[in-house]
Structures are given as C-alpha cells and as structure tokens.
Symmetry: C2
Subunit: 310 residues, 2 copies
C-alpha cells in the first residue's frame, strides 16, 4: 500500500536530492567483496529506479580498502555515464585525484574528519594536517572545473572522544569549504546525534556563512535516529540527503552497527510528506532485494522488509 500523495508538508522542501552512497559507503563497509560487474549492475539498477546522484567508488589504495580495489574496472563498466557531474567518486589524496583525472571524472569527494582521533586513525594525520593534504586536491580539481564535495566525519560523536563540540565541527567545515569545495556533507559516522544537536550545528554553520544550500546530511541508523535527524535537517532548509539503498554499510546485527539511513525508508517518508525525489520505490526495493541476494544476507531497510519480506 502507499500513503496518499499530498502537497509538501509545512516546513519541508518541495524536492529533495538523494545522494546515493550505497555503491561506495555501503559496499565499502560490507564484509563481502562484491565483483566489479555486480557493482556496475547495482549502479545501473539504481539509475533505472530514478536516483540521479550516485557516488560510484573510491580511489583509495586497495591495500587500505580491498572492497574498493576495482575503481577503474567499475568505471570502465559504466562508460561515459559513470564520470558525469552527478557520479562523484571518493578521492583520498593527490594520487587518488591522478587516477580520477585519468578517467575524466567530473566530480569528486574528499573525506575529512572533525576529530583528532579519527583523523589520526583514518588519515594518519592531525585535523590541521588534513587541510594540507586536501588543499592541492581541491585546488587542482576546481582549476579543471570539477565538482567537489567535502565530507566531514564524526560531526556529532566520536567513539574515542565522545560528543563533538559544534564549534569544532564548524572550524573544520569552514577550513574545508574555504579550499573551494561546492558541497559539505555532515556525517554522523557512529549514529549518536539527535534532532536538537542537528539544529544547533546547522545554525552555527549558517552563522559562519555556510548555508543549508551547500549542505548535505549523512546519518547512520546505529541508534535509530537517522530518519528523525534527516527530517529535522530538512525542516531547517537542507535539501540534499545521503542515503544507502537497502541500508547497506555495516552489519545491523552487530555491536559495531553502522548502517546508513536506508534510501527506501527515506523515500517512504518523503513520498508520504509530498516531497519529490524522482525515485520509483518499487523498483528500488527490487534492487535492494537483488543486492541483498548478492551479499547473502537480508536487507536491514524497514521498508524492504515490510514490502518484500527482507
């Protein structure tokens, strides 16, 4: 069944851009290493279901993330469709940018950290040192008119440092956006944030000149807060939301659960609220069921379970 289609609910945007992270952030955090051909078919199916922005892969060294060791192969499979302005790929450093440029990618994403501990663990650098690493990447990419997104991870809490102060996140965001990035994605990497915290962060960013027209939100459902936080951000003016088809990304049945907001659950919420997404939910659910079969485990998306039995 479907909820009735209505005018956008008060305070919500008429249209939301879903930034689909399943093929990259989702599959990167799955135990199973998925073959490149399956990834290509996954992306094709997502396109067919109406997703217009899809992050395709990551140019991180295969020795760091074996799940993403086939970036060139995936992009070869996608052909010209895989390198447009709405098909960004993650680029960790200048070497990654070299690879992306070779393939003609028109959009890239860098991945920064709001906390010292995670910057050390994920980037092997301090928070301050990360700017030096990202600066040539962003400058070169912008000089060639590429679209650049800056992820900031651990924007709400950090497993080692606890709650992350809003001003600390704003400082990092300001430095990264100051390099010339087009979009900022605020990541609640461990899923601990709540609605009031989302509001305070968006307000603080706005005061520093980073308005919601340049902000995307990226919530994980570890504590069940992802959709509530997303809806709070939309009411504050955000209109780009990161989500992962089928809730891919980390096993939801383990202590370290780090599943992304499921694209299907988001589409259900937005369709019911009269917000356009361009996504065909049935086709998306079919895609999730197909992908879950490839991974050999049921989808953690509530909507997929409800409509397709998992």
């Amino acid at each position: 069944m479907r909820t009735p289609q209505v005018e956008p609910a008060a305070g919500l945007p008429a249209e939301v851009t879903i930034y689909e992270v399943g093929p990259r952030d989702g599959l990167q955090n799955e135990q199973t290493v998925v073959p490149a051909a399956t990834k290509v078919e996954f992306i094709r199916r997502l396109e067919a279901a109406g997703l217009q922005t899809i992050e395709t892969t990551s140019f991180v060294p295969a020795r760091w993330v074996p799940q993403m060791g086939d970036a060139e192969e995936v992009l070869a499979g996608l052909g010209a469709d895989g390198v447009g302005r709405r098909r960004p790929a993650l680029v960790p450093n200048e070497r990654g940018l070299d690879r992306a440029e070779e393939l003609g990618l028109q959009a890239i994403a860098i991945f920064g950290s709001a906390t010292e501990t995670f910057a050390r663990k994920n980037l092997n650098r301090s928070v301050t040192e990360q700017y030096a690493m990202f600066e040539p990447v962003v400058k070169r990419a912008k000089a060639d008119d590429r679209w650049v997104r800056a992820y900031v991870s651990m924007c709400f809490g950090d497993p080692w440092e606890g709650p992350v102060p809003v001003e600390q996140v704003v400082d990092v965001a300001e430095r990264l956006m100051g390099l010339g990035c087009d979009e900022l994605s605020l990541g609640d990497t461990i899923g601990v944030g709540t609605t009031g915290h989302v509001h305070r962060l968006l307000e603080a960013l706005d005061r520093r000149g980073i308005g919601t027209d340049r902000i995307a939100v990226h919530f994980h459902d570890t504590y069940g807060q992802a959709l509530a936080n997303t809806m709070a951000a939309l009411r504050d003016g955000v209109s780009v939301v990161d989500a992962s088809t089928g809730g891919l990304g980390g096993c939801p049945y383990a202590k370290s659960a780090t599943g992304n907001l499921a694209t299907e659950d988001l589409v259900w919420a937005l369709t019911g609220a009269g917000v356009r997404t361009g996504v065909d939910l049935d086709q998306l659910v079919e895609t999730s069921v197909w992908m879950a079969q490839q991974l050999g485990r049921p989808s953690p998306s509530n909507v997929v379970r409800a409509l397709a039995g998992g």
Copy 2:
C-alpha cells in the same frame, strides 16, 4: 557514550511521559507465551528503570489472546502497585471491566478501530457498533472515577482499506472521547504513516476540540517511520508517547513486521534533545537484554544493539 545534555530543543516539550506498552502490546504480539512471574519481573524492572506509566496486561478472553490469559496472576504478583492510576490495563468490553473492577484497577484502556475492516476483524462489530459496546464500559468506569484511555487503531493506513482519511479518524476519536475518555492514543498499527500525515491528523483533531493535551501517539516501526513521526507529533504539542521496551511486539524480521517504537530509541532521542523522561537508559537496556533472553531472540531496538550487542 552519551550525547550532551542540553536545554530542550526548540519546539519540543520540556518533559515527555512515556506510556510503556511492552508488557501488554509488546508481549501480546510475541510468539512466545511468557510466564506470569516473568511478566511481573519485567514490570518491576521497568519501574526501577524510571518508567512511570506502564500498561500491565489485558482482560481479553484467553481464547482470543493466549499471551494475556494470566491477567489476574500478573496483577496478583504486582500487588497494590499494579492497580494505580498509572498502571492501566486493556479492557475489551463489560466482562473485561468486571474483572478489572474486581481487582480494584484505577485505570483502564479501551481499544477501538478507525476502519470498518479492522473493527470487523478485531471487534466483530462495525465502527458504529463499537460505540455501543464501549459506552457502558466507559460510563461505568468514569462513574467510579477510573482513568480511561481510548486507543484508536489504524489511524493512518489499514492493510485491507489502504490509506485512512483523516476525517474518518476524527469522527471515531470524537465519538470515543465523547463517551468521557481521558486520553486518546492514535495508533499507526501497521506503521505506514509519515510526518505530514501526523500533522494533518493532529490539526484536524484540534479543530474538533480534541487538543494535544489529551492525545498520545502510538507508532510502529514497520516502515522505519516511528521515531520521525513521534518527533513530529511532539513538535505539534503532544507530550505522551507510547513505546515498547526493546521494541517488543511482532518479529522485526518478518514480512508482517509490526514492532512498536523501541522505548530505548525514544529515550536516546529525547535525552539528546534535552527533554526529560525520568528513564535511566542503561538500566532500561539491561532490562531489554534480560527480556530478550526470556524470549530467546535479540532485541530489535537499535540502541540496545548498539550499547549491548543485541
């Protein structure tokens, strides 16, 4: 870790009453029939964790719902604590009220339907005929100064009828509240509702004189919308929320998934937003883990999985 304690986020109430439905709505929908002594211990643990309002059981005939066939035994186990104004039990009809009165219960709940099909299936009556059944129950209970809650089920969608018109729900709510009930609980029994729909329903009820001071919300997480819908209702002025510890109620891994909003996920959201609930989250999570052991399956609450590994 914890999110920082802050002032209530804009638009949220300073305090929320959690109406705990785990022992009744939760266990009633579990496959396993739990022994009365275990139910008593469950309720005691919930009290110790700070839950102030707990629905204890149901006086429905055991041949309809074997899971609730031990109402007298559960209440005997609770003693005087089990019959106060914040320990309601479900009373389906006059025979149920006789049983509740015999035990001295000071609070009861009736369970109506917003749709014809569910009224037929659940009450063996039409929507109109349900009023005749409930009228003597409410009149007698109010004559003895008992507190009466009216549940209305299928307020957003119905598995047989599809989306349920707001005006239809308001008509049913008005008739039931007109009998003299103290509180109205709006149930999204199959979990299909979305935030805009919640807002429209609350607005329509308010226009008919049923304000948010008499309304509780009861969401199921079947489509992942329960917490987002709850937060929307709180911003509209509701301050009583039904939730089920551990997300008890229906298996979350089946097509017919009908799990209630998990009390832990709600407490996490409210604590983070600076809203008081009086609940000690760690103690509640311990209780969920213990109850999940009794049921022989992991808790579907995200917070329980994250903090206790399921």
